[in-house]
Symmetry: C2
Subunit: 121 residues, 2 copies
DNA sequence: TTAATATATGAACAGATATTCATATGAAAG
DNA sequence: CTTTCATATGAATATCTGTTCATATATTAA
């Protein structure tokens, strides 16, 4: 028996609260859902992306607008927009040479606003 | 003049939508707030931490409980709890050798539930 | 006091990630 | 059709992050 197993076994007998654990196990979403959830929040967890999303609260913007507004290179903005697109947080429409991005739906606003509430307390 | 500056200047004259940019600039929170916001979401953006938080939806749990429940080493759980503590997402109380953790406030639930809503659409 | 146990913490390492650079694509203008 | 411009993308790099390992701390029991 390796050391780590020994520790877990000790713990089993002495400090585990079985009732609590079983209750929680029953109500927790499955691993995949929680993984996806973490992936979603990871997308919000970068200041460039948050700035892009917040910028799109007010208006539809093209890549160049965003780049200048945030003072971030066009390339970096494009890369981040791709991530936002992949995660269905923004949508876009093409018009000539420009591509206009906007928020995909209201969830984006509400998630960000919830976060702001937490910060401003 | 270096290449990148030339590009920005071209862009200034040709594709920037001044009105949109000004509107957005007025309503955007300051950089520090947006940075903090990203930091907050970064904390939610890890599956181990999300699992810990979700586990605490149902019940107060000690480190050992969490470790067994999630099948993650005690050390890893401790490290992640520290991050959650630092960001005021969990609180704790000591009782003998055990330390019991629970959610710091309702924001945590609502942020996570908002995220779940987005995923399940 | 000493041993056992629950939790915490620092250092190290491996894997992930954001930006930059160079370049490609695609649309409009000349 | 060639040039210009807006955007996209792949590769490279530097930084960040999560886990593990070893060990420290603190509490209880013997």
């Amino acid at each position: 028996m390796i050391e780590s197993e020994k520790n877990i076994e000790k713990c089993d007998y002495l400090c585990i609260h079985e009732d609590n654990i079983n209750t929680v196990k029953e109500t927790m979403p499955n691993d995949e859902t929680l993984y996806d959830l973490a992936e979603l929040f990871k997308v919000f967890g970068d200041s460039t992306r948050i700035k892009i999303l917040y910028a799109l609260f007010e208006a539809e913007l093209c890549v160049c607008d965003i780049s200048q507004l945030l003072n971030v290179s066009q390339t970096a903005v494009s890369h981040q927009l791709r991530i936002l697109k992949t995660n269905k947080l923004v949508k876009f429409r093409k018009e000539g040479k420009n591509v206009y991005y906007s928020l995909a739906d209201d969830h984006v606003c509400s998630i960000i606003n919830q976060g702001l509430d937490h910060i401003n307390e």
